[in-house]
Structure formats: C-alpha cells, structure tokens
C-alpha cells in the first residue's frame, strides 16, 4: 500500500483519486464539488458521475472521459481498478485498487443504509481500507429516514399557513428528500430553488422517483402556504427565502443530530437525513472489510482512529489537503 500517498496519488502511474487541482488522470468517486473538479485531462468514473460533472461544469470539463460500470475492471500497468457502489448519491463509487495481491479500497463518501435514489453500498473485503469519517463519533446514530420525513409531513399538516423550506444540498440530498416524501405518499408538487432544476431533471431521466416538481417563481405570496420548497442550505439565509409566507426553516442533514448545531444555523425543524454512514455503520464496515490497515479521512478522525487502535488495527488519519471537517456536502 506504499504505492499511494496521503493525497490519494499513485506516483507510479501518475493517477489521482478525487484531486482538488487539475491533474492528468483522475478517478472521481462522485459528483460533489469537493470530489469532482473541473479541468482534469482524463476522468475515470461511472457514467452517472460523468453525466453529473458535465451538467455542473459543462461538456468540456475534462479532455477525455472513461466510463466504468460497477464491477468492471480497468487496468493501468500492473494496477487494476474496479468501481463498486458507495450508496452515497447517484453514481457514487468506491474504488478497489489491486496491485501485487494487495487489495486497497477507497470508500469515498458512502452510506450503508437503503436508498432508492442510488445503487446501494456494496461491502468489499480488502487489506487496506481508506474510509471517510464525516460522522465518526458515537453520538451520530442516524434514525430511520422515513420517521424523519414524517416529521416534515406532520408539520406541513399542522401548520397550514406556513410554507416549509427544506435546506438540502443540490446534488443527492435534495432528490433523496423528494424521493422519501414520495415513499411516504406525499403526492403534491414539490417546489424547488432554481439551482436544483437541472439535477432534478437528470434524476427524473434516470428513473429515480422524485415525483412532480416545479421551479419556484414569483407567484402570489400566499400561493406557497402549505407547500414544501427545497433549496440549497446557502439560500436559507439569503433574501431569497424571505419572499415566502411564514416560512418554517428545515434542514435535511446528519449534522442535525445535534440540537445546538441546528439552533446555531437557525433551523426550526431539523431532519436527520444523512448520505453518510453513521458511527455504527463505519465500525461495521471497518470490521467486515477484514482490512488490517485502516486510513481515515474527512471529518472526525480522532475517535475512529482511537477505536481502531483498540481493535489492534493499524490506523492513522489521512489529511487530504483542501478539505476541512464540516464543510462537506
């Protein structure tokens, strides 16, 4: 595993995984902006990740694209690469790297739970596991997302003269919230912030059930009473949100576990809906992977490193430049 450095760079073949700066060859795990960037020479990813990159950055965001199906092997010299579903968002993948009988898995961002908006996470046995740790503290034990979405549905029923604005990241979370609403038989039109439109259309095209949606427009103020509006978190505090009648500010995120966090951000109805694994899922993945060597990135590494050491696993944090905790989509 010495072949890869702390920046997820494989020097032997000049290949990066999720690099921040433009590089020659880049494997991209998924379309979130802290993983997928503009300007690489050659991008290797799932078809959906490539589609998403093109939607976000334009068709020419990389010079060359190589599409890999889940499970399809791709070789460069004596390195074999295979992508497996990560269950994070549509198109998200883990990367299995095989070299000289050593199996290394980079999970990227992943979620173990069930999700209708993407292929579900597949566990891969390996020798070295590089796992994310966004929610790497035992306080994070995500509740059933259906119960959380019911809170929203109930609040809409009770507060007939308010509109509910749900903060959700434009890629993945927004569509997941919509899909969860549909699973709970909420069949009304869902209104969306303009920045969500293209991605929602793409999800629809990919046959993800997000139901009927419509871009928010300058209608009569009262029109939005009793409606659900989905917007990126940045819009919640913006002037944009003030045009609506008595908005109740909601947020769909794993961070909403902590009340004080919700309060700090002015969230009145926190919905604990996460696209990352919680503490137990992280531990479960580490244990079931059978990896003896665990490297931990993204977020609350300390507690997870401590846990691994307790289990006699070799473990250390891997600090990837350009990403700090709590700024992750």
């Amino acid at each position: 595993m010495d072949f890869i450095n702390h920046q997820l760079f494989i020097k032997d073949i000049n290949l990066h995984i999720d690099p921040i700066l433009p590089k020659k060859t880049a494997i991209i795990t998924h379309g979130h902006a802290d993983h997928a960037r503009f300007g690489h020479n050659h991008v290797i990813a799932t078809r959906q990740t490539i589609d998403i990159m093109k939607i976000r950055y334009g068709d020419k965001c990389a010079k060359k694209f190589t599409t890999l199906r889940y499970g399809q092997k791709y070789s460069i010299k004596n390195f074999n690469f295979t992508l497996y579903p990560a269950g994070h968002i549509l198109g998200s993948a883990q990367v299995l790297i095989e070299k000289d009988n050593h199996r290394l898995v980079i999970t990227g961002d992943y979620k173990v739970g069930k999700d209708e908006t993407c292929k579900n996470f597949k566990l891969i046995k390996c020798d070295t596991l590089i796992t994310e740790a966004t929610f790497g503290l035992p306080i994070f034990q995500h509740p059933n997302p259906n119960d959380e979405i019911q809170k929203l549905i109930q609040s809409v029923k009770i507060n007939k003269h308010n509109c509910h604005i749900v903060g959700a990241y434009a890629l993945g979370k927004a569509q997941r919230v919509m899909n969860l609403l549909r699973q709970q038989n909420y069949n009304k039109t869902i209104y969306i912030h303009g920045s969500l439109k293209k991605l929602c259309e793409y999800y629809s095209k990919e046959k993800i059930n997000i139901g009927k949606f419509e871009k928010v427009s300058s209608k009569d103020k009262n029109f939005y009473e009793g409606k659900i509006i989905i917007a990126p978190p940045s819009a919640l505090k913006d002037r944009w949100s003030r045009r609506f009648p008595n908005p109740i500010i909601c947020m769909a995120s794993g961070w909403m576990t902590v009340k004080q966090r919700a309060k700090q951000q002015g969230i009145e109805l926190p919905l604990v809906i996460s696209d990352h694994s919680d503490w137990n899922e992280l531990l479960d993945t580490i244990n079931k992977s059978k990896a003896k060597n665990i490297l931990i990135t993204h977020g609350q590494e300390d507690a997870l490193v401590y846990y691994c050491k307790q289990q006699n696993l070799v473990s250390k944090p891997l600090s990837i430049q350009g990403r700090s905790d709590e700024e992750i989509e």
Binding site: F140, K259, K263, S324
Partner: protein
C-alpha cells in the same frame, strides 16, 4: 414526558418570541397533572439537585468508552445532549408522564441511584433523555426566560404579567392557588410580602450618543456603581435574611450581617468587601462567595458590609409605588434608626449637567467604583430591566494587547466553534497566560478566529488546542488583581475580546512585569 420534551425541543429551536409564547400556552392549556412541574422547571424553581454532572459522567462511562465520550463531548459542547445522544438506546419503554417520572426519581434510594437512574435513561428516547438530564442538573438554557413563561401564562388567562410578578416569589409548588386565580376560580393569592424575595429593579446601559441628548439631567440622580454583588436584605422583627440577585438565600454565608441588622424593612443594596465602609475590591469579596458558612477567621480577614441603594418596604408599608426620591427619605430614616457597622448608604452625586457627571464616572474613587448609576428621581421600583428609568454608565474598560495561545470549543450557542481563548504576554522568551475570554468578539471575528485555530494548531491537549503565536487580541477588562493561583500572578475581572490587532507584531506585546507595572500590581 414525551410532550414536555418536545416542548423544550421546539422552544430551543424557535427564534420567534411569539411562537415560543404560543408553544408554552398550548402546553399549559392542555395538561393539568404535569403543568405544575413544567412551570417549576421552566422557571427554575424546581430545586432538584438529584444528580450532579460528575455523577452523570460516571454513569455514562459505565456505558461507553471514556475516550469516545470525551471526543464526543468536546464536539457537542453540551453535557446533557452528548449523554442523550451517546447513551445506548435499549428498548424504548412506554412513555411516562412528567410528574410520575420525577416523583419516582425522588423516591430512589441513594445507594440505588447508579443502577436505577441508568435504567431510566435506557428506556427513554433521545429527546426525553436530554430533557431529564437538563431537569436534573438544572439550568435549561433553552432561550426561555422566567419572564416569558409568566407572560405566556398572563396572556393565556387575560391577566397582567406584573400581577403574576408581584406574587411570584410567594408562590409554592404545585402552584394550585396561582392556577385557580388565573382561571378566575379564586381571588389573587395573599402573600406576606415581608417574607419573600422581590425581583430587583435593574438598569440598562446608557447610550452616550443618543441618551444624553434626549434626557434631562435635572430629572436624574446619580450614584456610584460598585463592584460587589447586588443583594436584598429582608429585615422583619425577628428574622433577617439576605438574598442574591437571583433570589437565592445566602444568609448563612454572611452571619455578621444577619446578626447585627435591626428594624423592619426590605433593603436593596450592594454587598461589598471592606473595613469601615471602605470597599476593598471584588477579589476580597470573592473569598466570601459560594460558601455555605463563614468562619470567624474568614469574617475577620475579609469583612463585608452592605451599601444600601433603595428601600422597598418600611414597617410593613409597601414603598414600591413611591418615587425614588421619596423612597430615599425612608431609606435615610431606616438607617438613622438602625445604625450598624454593616450598612451604609449609597452616596448621591451632585451634578447638573451630563458633562459634569463624566468626571465622576471616570476618576472618582480610583479603581474601586465601576462607573455611575443614573436613576430617574421619579421612578417607581419596578421589577426587571425596564427601559427609561435606571441606567448604568460604566468606566471605560482597561485594555491590553495579548497573544492568543490556546483555544477551546465553546458551549451552548457557541458549541463546536473554538470560542474560548486563552491569551498571554511575554515572560523572557516564553509566553505566560494572563487570562481567558469567551465573549466580546463579533460573529465575524469568531469565524476568523475559529478558522485560524483549525488551521494553525500546533498541539492538542485533550479538548484544548495550542495555536501558532501569531494573533494579537486586544483584551478589555474591568480590573486586574494579584493572584497566587495563576502562573502569571495576575487575575483579570471580566476579560473580553475587544478586537483583533492585525496591525501589531507579536514582539511588541508587553512583558508580564511591564503589564504589572502598567496596572499598578507591583
């Protein structure tokens, strides 16, 4: 319990005052059995020191690894919330009602606390656990003041909040007489006013630019503002008791006052340390605070006295509706009749223009007065911080530039931000910490500091981060005292971050001996 915990959950997340009032009213409207407990809890009246924070930690360490808990607590910044989240959820039990739960907890034998309380925590939901721990440890911090609870009740039953306020401290759990009166089933509860604490009248900070233009100096009187603790002294023929500003009975800690006071009155004043009515500073008073008792020795070493500001009752007569001017006459009368070595009167400053008052604010009494109080001569004695009657005008703070050394995450609304800062000055080639501050900065400055700390940590000691010595903070503080407890030999009173000195290089910060010289400590 489910309902009450979701009430608290909603209250903490609602920014709107009106929504809070509505939530409270909805709760009080429907629940008869639990409302007394709810009211006691929301107004901090439930004296229920059943379990301490240290005990809770002990219990949680039985459930989860200590290090993992500590990492989590550091992240969350709230003990009750960390425990409620990290506690392994067993099968959730049937929801219990609030009053039964509390009654049951009260019945637990001391020797059984650990097992019984753990069992209860295990069968509650996250949110209920959080609520119960908050109740048990006291201090909800959910952004609901006692006043707001009273306002909600008053509005719900068409009473005025001042009427509730007047009788409030004479009411007792389970508040039957209050609720009956609110519902018009009985008349207003009768209360012996001499035996209960009366909420104090408080001052607002003066806005030098606006207020002095607007206010007529002739209508106001001024007194020195003293740096002690505000107290209320209740003197009835045979019993004397002393209350702190929050209504806690602190009589037992100040026997010299209780034993010597005579007469029949309720006095409002400042408790100060000092001999022969010469204040000696807050540091001396500190030696007497937060104690249950005071030995003869301690009384001798740190004597205290009360500087009287105001009088609320005199010989059973309620003076609160009289003007301050009138009340002062009664206060002087009381003092003449009952002279002791423990009570003197606050001095009234003679001034005719605001400019004239400035010199009293800044220079008089050296460092011992904090500034001046400006009070409308015509003011009734009104509970709370009403606008337009009493103002405080503080001296300009002292300032020092110091280097940011360590940071820790904050609690409550600042949880997860690095918002507690330790700063220091030079001692030869190293830095020695002189104080710690967690306020004063703007939200923007906090974000900048937080980011700096995350990116410039050179060492971690548990939750404390040591940072590169690059940031200079201008620290404002009220006073500084010599201290044997701190390495630097100094202790600051109320330090806060005034601004960040981007312009100043770290080598221009004072040395500790220069610092002591400047503030006359050596």
């Amino acid at each position: 319990m489910k309902k009450f915990s979701s009430l608290l959950h909603n209250l903490i997340l609602t920014p709107s005052r009106n929504t809070k009032i509505k939530l409270l009213q909805d709760y009080f409207k429907t629940l008869d059995i639990n409302r007394a407990y709810a009211l006691a809890i929301l107004s901090n009246q439930l004296s229920f020191q059943f379990i301490k924070a240290s005990k809770l930690r002990e219990l949680v360490y039985e459930q989860v690894d200590q290090h993992l808990f500590d990492y989590s607590y550091d992240y969350v910044g709230d003990l009750a919330e960390t425990i409620s989240l990290i506690w392994p959820t067993k099968k959730e039990g049937k929801s219990e009602n609030l009053s039964n739960l509390i009654e049951n907890i009260k019945k637990i034998e001391k020797s059984e606390i650990n097992t019984e309380f753990s069992k209860i925590l295990s069968r509650l939901s996250n949110n209920e656990r959080w609520t119960l721990i908050k109740i048990c440890t006291g201090g909800l911090r959910i952004g609901v003041s006692e006043r707001l609870v009273k306002t909600a009740l008053a509005d719900l039953y068409n009473k005025s909040v001042n009427e509730i306020e007047e009788i409030w401290h004479g009411l007792e759990f389970p508040y039957e007489n209050l609720f009956q009166w609110l519902k018009n089933e009985t008349s207003k509860p009768k209360i012996d006013f001499r035996k209960l604490f009366h909420p104090m009248m408080l001052a607002n900070p003066i806005d030098e630019e606006k207020d002095f233009k607007r206010l007529d100096a002739n209508e106001f009187q001024a007194e020195y503002k003293w740096d002690g603790i505000r107290v209320q002294l209740m003197v009835a023929s045979k019993s004397v008791s002393l209350y702190s500003r929050t209504g806690d009975n602190i009589s037992s800690a100040f026997p010299e006052i209780i034993e010597t006071t005579k007469g029949d009155a309720v006095i409002d004043g400042e408790l100060l340390a000092g001999r022969s009515f010469k204040p000696s500073g807050f540091n001396d008073l500190q030696q007497r605070l937060n104690r249950k008792k005071a030995s003869k020795d301690l009384q001798k070493k740190f004597p205290v006295f009360i500087r009287a500001y105001d009088i609320l009752f005199y010989k059973g007569k309620d003076l609160r509706k009289l003007s301050l001017f009138e009340r002062r006459k009664y206060l002087e009368k009381f003092q003449k009749e009952n002279k002791t070595n423990q009570i003197d009167l606050s001095f009234i400053i003679n001034f005719s223009t605001w400019e004239e008052l400035t010199k009293y604010k800044n220079n008089f009494h050296g460092d011992l007065n904090e500034g001046v109080m400006i009070k409308l001569k015509n003011s009734e004695y009104l509970p709370g911080r009403k606008k337009g009657y009493w103002y405080k005008w503080k001296k300009n703070p002292k300032l020092v530039d110091a280097i940011l050394m360590y940071a820790q995450r904050g609690h409550g609304k600042r949880s997860s931000y690095y918002s507690d800062f330790t700063f220091g000055v030079w001692k030869e080639n190293e830095l020695v910490p002189i104080g710690k501050a967690y306020s004063g900065y703007t939200d923007k400055e906090l974000l900048v500091l937080d980011k700096f700390i995350r990116n410039n940590t050179i060492n971690k000691f548990g939750p404390v981060r040591e940072v590169k010595k690059e940031i200079i903070l201008e620290v404002a503080f009220d006073d500084v005292f010599p201290s044997t407890r701190h390495k630097s030999g100094v202790a600051m009173r109320f330090p806060r971050i005034h601004r960040i000195r981007w312009d100043k290089p770290v080598n221009e910060v004072l040395t500790i001996s220069e610092f002591k010289k400047e503030f006359k400590l050596s």
